[in-house]
């Protein structure tokens, strides 16, 4: 069985031409035209030696022959088909395809594999029988290939495990008379209930050839998800236990938005893994579905229902609601404690007879009753029913409860009438501390607060079951919190008030924790509540209609007509079947999630009957792998190699040694070329690294030690030279005239050098130089935002003299740069700006040219304070623009003499230019300090001196 086939085998005859090509190649180069030429000596003087050897070296010829052979082979359109083969012609082709949930990710490949087999069956002219193990309707009766193909196209993966037994029953029925030729299973690889027997039964029909095609994917399924106290934990199982695996978890809310992510980890060799989503409680309550990222199957999706949701808590108080004194309201502390974790319901009216039934209609998980002694008589049955159906009643003691004489059915333990006071004037006992919480009780894990004291409580009647009903007790052993399970629900009683009157427990953090734990224990949505209308008691079968169903790809979809209402028995959901596919059942207000997997489920590898002779093949991607592009690519590569060799032999790659080596051994030459290429590739990287580490600590220290003026290296040699000389001149002037003694100026490359050391960066516009990159402009932007000042100098004052509105190239460049910068609004330097007074009093800002205006950041208008000596601009303008060529005026030779004449040539103007520079530097270094300085006379005057 040759896996190689040719689309155009006739082209292979072209290989016969290879000897001819060989002969032709040996003849290279072509024979020259012979010419008599008397002035040969003159020609010889100008003609470079470009002799090619009469014959190319043998290895070069071999290379070219190989190239030609590759092209011919490629033109013959070879196709590598590892799955080629034929189905048995002794009977119909029987295809059994698993379309269970785990086939969804690679369904198309499975269809393609089945399609290929059907093609082969069509070629062999045998009918095809097609069985889908997870589908409802199966007709394994052999039909034509076209029919089978149509059914194959229509089939979809189902979000349920395969029902192989049922499929096998239909199969054996269909093949009771005839034996199938080839029996091919396209299996999902997961063992199912009774799967092995099903296969045995199918094999028993006596096929001539049995094949098992298995996918290479690793099915993984979430088995359990738990909204824990501080994190969301997820358990999962997988089929392939080899190797550790780390998968991403996505949590989606009810609208399908991904709102949190986590990790799911499988240890090597372990079939089960666990993961966690570590997000705040509030966010966790919004989870509607957990999915494994990158795995689109129903198993990798876990639906959540109300049991993990935020609880609805109804608050009922016996005390009159007094809004004026909130801190005395018994519900205030509970509200504050529960607000972040639960939805709080409050009764609309204070009449408990109305309020409690209304609250029950809203189906709360928990009803908190703070100090309620008695309830209206007709409320009791409804409340009791609600508790039996899963409601949690949380009660707090108080004067009313303590004063109740009637026997209260809604307390966990029998209470003694009246309350017990501890540490009062008439008592010897001290206020009691809390005992440590029992490690196995519901409050396990909560640190018992040491500073909580209880001075008053209601006492329980001693009874045999008091101990087990006690959740928390005081240090002397009297119960503080007791609880009783009632039906599916629970009654919990705190023996103290919900206000700090009896104890300071409500003020402690433990109170919040205890309430949270209690709430978390409650059922999210007590079924059988009056709300969902069924009104049936728990235990009776309950039918829930499909609300949203999970597709095989793990997406929630509208229910199809096939799905039937799910029947809950004793509140438990059945296993998903085709009739009840995984999904949400119920209504929008209350639903139950039916998941594919349950806690503790594992995925087992598919077991096949051992006796049968089964050919196992993997699922391959495509039927045929066309080799044509690869061959062409290889030929192209050889052509490149050939070109390089020819270039080298032609002397293009210099050194005679290399060329000689190339002529002697081609292999050596190839290696040399590759080596040279690799070296060339590798070389620049260390150089870059070197550059990056250029700003080491000592350089930074040096830059910080002394103030340096800086200019932008534009790349235009002349401009940069003047910038450097100008800043040197200015530094010299500053040293001579001011307290600032700057170091030598630095030229900075704004795209690489650190800018943070420089208070002022001079940027002359050089239109001939390259435009700074976006990254460089971004750095300048950051520099300006962080307090640096950039002095842009277009140096075009002279150039723009005649033009009215004509834009010089420098200005154009400036505009192009500023277009990328976040530049504040600008204005010409106002007469009262700090810049005019920072060191020298200046009226204008001349450089080499006089007359151009200097622009700075516009300062907000000081409305009408004309009498102020200076405008009190806060901070320093991050941008200064001039056209006067300041550096040109500052530039000095090594001996200190000016480098360029000023225009007009006036020593006074140069002096002024230096003063502008000094003012600028002082301005950038001191900011509005000078603006404050000018007030000194006024301040002194005010001080009376």
């Amino acid at each position: 069985m040759l896996p190689l086939a040719f689309g155009a085998p006739a082209v292979l005859f072209g290989l016969l031409a290879l000897p001819v090509i060989w002969w032709l190649l040996r003849l290279t180069p072509p024979r020259p035209r012979s010419e008599v030429f008397p002035p040969l000596r003159i020609l010889a003087a100008v003609l470079k030696k470009e002799e090619t050897p009469a014959q190319s070296p043998w290895w070069l010829t071999v290379l070219r022959i190989v190239m030609a052979a590759l092209v011919i082979l490629a033109l013959a359109d070879p196709v590598l088909d590892p799955t080629s083969g034929t189905v048995s012609s002794r009977g119909p082709l029987a295809l059994v395809v698993d379309n269970s949930w785990s086939t969804a990710p690679d369904w198309q490949r499975r269809v393609a594999a089945a399609d290929r087999l059907i093609d082969q069956a069509a070629d062999t002219d045998v009918p095809v029988s097609l069985t889908f193990t997870a589908s409802r309707d199966n007709d394994p009766t052999p039909t034509s290939a076209a029919n089978a193909r149509e059914r194959l196209r229509a089939a979809r993966p189902q979000p349920i495990p395969p029902a192989r037994e049922r499929a096998a029953a239909r199969f054996t029925e269909a093949f009771s008379g005839t034996a199938p030729g080839t029996l091919a299973f396209i299996a999902d690889g997961i063992a199912s209930n009774g799967g092995e027997q099903a296969f045995s039964r199918m094999i028993a029909t006596g096929p001539a050839d049995i094949r098992l095609i298995e996918g290479d994917g690793n099915p993984v399924a979430i088995t359990d998800a738990d909204n824990g106290a501080d994190r969301f934990t997820v358990s999962a199982t997988r089929l392939d236990t080899d190797g550790a695996e780390n998968l991403g978890l996505d949590a989606y809310d009810a609208k399908g938005r991904s709102i949190a992510t986590g990790r799911l980890h499988f240890d090597a060799g372990s079939a089960t893994g666990s993961g966690a989503i570590d997000v705040p409680f509030e966010l966790r309550n919004d989870f509607a579905r957990i999915g494994i990222a990158s795995v689109a199957s129903a198993g990798a999706s876990y639906l959540l229902d109300d049991s993990d949701r935020r609880r609805r808590v109804a608050l009922v108080s016996g005390a009159p609601s007094d809004n004026a004194q909130e801190l005395l309201s018994p519900l205030h502390y509970i509200e504050q404690a529960l607000q972040p974790y639960a939805d709080l319901l409050k009764p609309e009216d204070s009449d408990l007879a109305q309020a409690i039934p209304n609250l029950l209609k809203r189906n709360p998980s928990v009803i908190v009753m703070a100090d309620i002694g008695t309830l209206p008589e007709d409320v009791y049955p409804a409340l009791e029913k609600w508790i039996r159906n899963g409601g949690t009643l949380l009660r707090f003691a108080g004067p009313r409860l303590a004063g109740t004489t009637a026997k209260d059915p809604l307390v966990p333990v029998q209470l003694r009438a009246g309350e017990r006071a501890l540490g009062g004037t008439m008592s010897w006992s001290e206020p009691q501390h809390l005992a440590a919480f029992s490690g196995s009780g519901p409050f396990a894990g909560i640190q018992a607060p040491q500073n909580v004291t209880v001075s008053r409580q209601v006492l329980a009647q001693p009874s045999p079951d008091l101990e087990e009903r006690t959740w928390a007790s005081l240090a002397d052993g009297t119960p503080l919190v007791t609880a009783k399970t009632e039906g599916e629900g629970r009654i919990v009683l705190f023996h103290v008030t919900a206000t700090p009157t009896w104890s300071n427990l409500p003020l402690s953090g433990a109170f919040v924790e205890m309430l949270r734990k209690t709430i978390a224990l409650s059922k999210a949505s007590p079924t059988g509540g009056t709300d969902n209308g069924s009104g049936v008691d728990a235990g009776a079968p309950q039918s829930l209609p499909p609300y949203r169903l999970l597709s095989a790809e793990g997406i929630l979809v509208e229910p199809s007509g096939d799905a039937r209402p799910v029947t809950l028995r004793k509140g438990a959901l059945p296993r998903p079947t085709l009739d009840n596919p995984p999904g949400l059942y119920g209504t929008q207000d209350g639903f139950r999630a039916l998941n594919l997997m349950r806690a503790g489920d594992t995925l087992e590898p598919l077991a096949m009957p051992e006796a049968a002779d089964i050919t196992r093949t993997p699922l391959v991607d495509t039927a045929a792998r066309a080799l044509k592009p690869w061959l062409f690519a290889l030929a192209m590569l050889l052509l490149l190699v050939d070109s390089v060799i020819v270039l080298v032999m032609g002397g293009a790659l210099s050194t005679a040694r290399l060329a000689r080596a190339g002529r002697s051994t081609g292999a050596a030459l190839l290696l040399a070329c590759l080596g040279a290429g690799l070296c060339g590739l590798g070389a620049p990287r260390p150089a870059f690294a070197q550059e990056d580490t250029g700003s080491d600590a000592s350089t930074i220290l040096d830059k910080i030690d002394t103030t340096h003026l800086a200019y932008v290296v534009t790349g235009d040699e002349a401009v940069d030279r003047i910038s450097r000389a100008g800043l040197e001149g200015l530094s010299r002037f500053l040293t001579n005239h001011t307290a600032l003694e700057p170091g030598p100026p630095d030229g900075v490359h704004i795209d690489s050098d650190p800018l943070a050391f420089y208070p002022l960066i001079y940027w002359p516009m050089a239109p001939d130089a390259a435009m700074p990159s976006d990254a460089a402009v971004g750095r300048i932007d950051a520099y300006m935002k962080n307090g640096g000042t950039v002095l842009f100098d277009t140096r075009d004052q002279l150039g723009s003299l005649g033009g009215d509105g004509a834009v010089t190239p420098q200005t154009q460049r400036l505009r192009a740069i500023l277009a990328n910068l976040d530049v504040p609004p600008l204005e010409p330097v106002p007469d009262d700006d700090v810049l005019t007074k920072a060191f020298y009093i200046l009226r204008s800002f001349p450089g080499r040219y006089a007359g151009g205006r200097m622009w700075v950041e516009a300062t907000p208008d000081d409305e009408g304070r004309a009498d102020r000596p200076v405008r009190a601009g806060d901070g320093v303008s991050s941008i200064v623009i001039t056209g006067n060529d300041l550096a040109g005026a500052w530039a000095v030779n090594g001996d200190g003499s000016p480098l360029l004449p000023t225009v007009p040539n006036d020593p006074r103007q140069r002096e002024l230019a230096y003063r502008v520079g000094v003012n600028l530097v002082m301005y950038t270094l001191t900011g509005n300090y000078k603006a404050d300085q000018v007030h000194i006379p006024a301040l002194l005057e005010r001080l009376g001196q």
């Binding site: 020259p32 035209r33 010419e35 008599v36 100008v46």
Partner: protein, 304 residues
Amino acid sequence: MASLGRSVSRTANTEALARARQRAALVPDCLVEASRIAHTAVSGWHGRRRRGTGENFWQFRPYTVGESVARIDWRRSARDDHTYLRDREWEAAHTLWLWSDPSPSMLFKSDLARASKEARALVLQLALAEVLARSGERIASPAIMEPTAQRNAAERLAGALVQAQDTAAFPDFLDAGRYSEVVLVGDFLDEPEVTMERLAPIARRGIRGHVVEVCDPAEEVFPYAGRTEFRDPETGSRLTAGRAETVAEDYRRAYLARRETLAGRLQRLGWTFLTHRTDRPASEALIAVHMRLSGDPAGGRRSA
């Protein structure tokens, strides 16, 4: 593609003579050096009173910049503010030595040319002989023919050339006297230094010369392209150019540089230099040489 140029067999002298006669018939009687003839014992027709190299005074004329200072007549110049030269009347021996290059490199004719260089050189040589003999000049050819003043000098020269086919080397002109002139027709493809090494001894003996370079257009414009193997007809050495068109520009520059160098050197010797392409009619060259022999350099390339 067939070769552009090829070697040709040597031209039969009789045929060349006939062609030379035709050319010569077009040229008016050569009255070269009539003046010189008048001053020599050798018979000529009538003298031409002209300035030239001689011993008798001919005229004073103002000095113009560029002329040899040695020729200034200081006695005359001292008399007024101008500087004068003393021109002498032209007097010379009137033997004209004609030589054409017989080397194999001359046996080349390209498709662009009308005749091979050798044929053209021979025609020029014989035509000159015919013209000059008609004018009564003495004609000679080095190592081939003694000077003769006979009217049928061209026939005799042709006959002598037939006799001496194997004179490939450059002659030494030892027989040429002081006031004789030589006319050299060849391709002068050697290095200018080599050529000048041969010509300088002749010039030192006071012999005036006229060099006619005959070239094939193919040699000048280099119309070759593609992979071409060039063969030197003299040495037989070969040279292969991978892409001939790429060197064409360089070659033309070198070729013309050689010519310029040669022309410059000859100018310094006081000789005239003339190029002639074989795709032009031979009479062009004949007239040009004739003009130069007549002392009128306006006919073509300016000589010293």
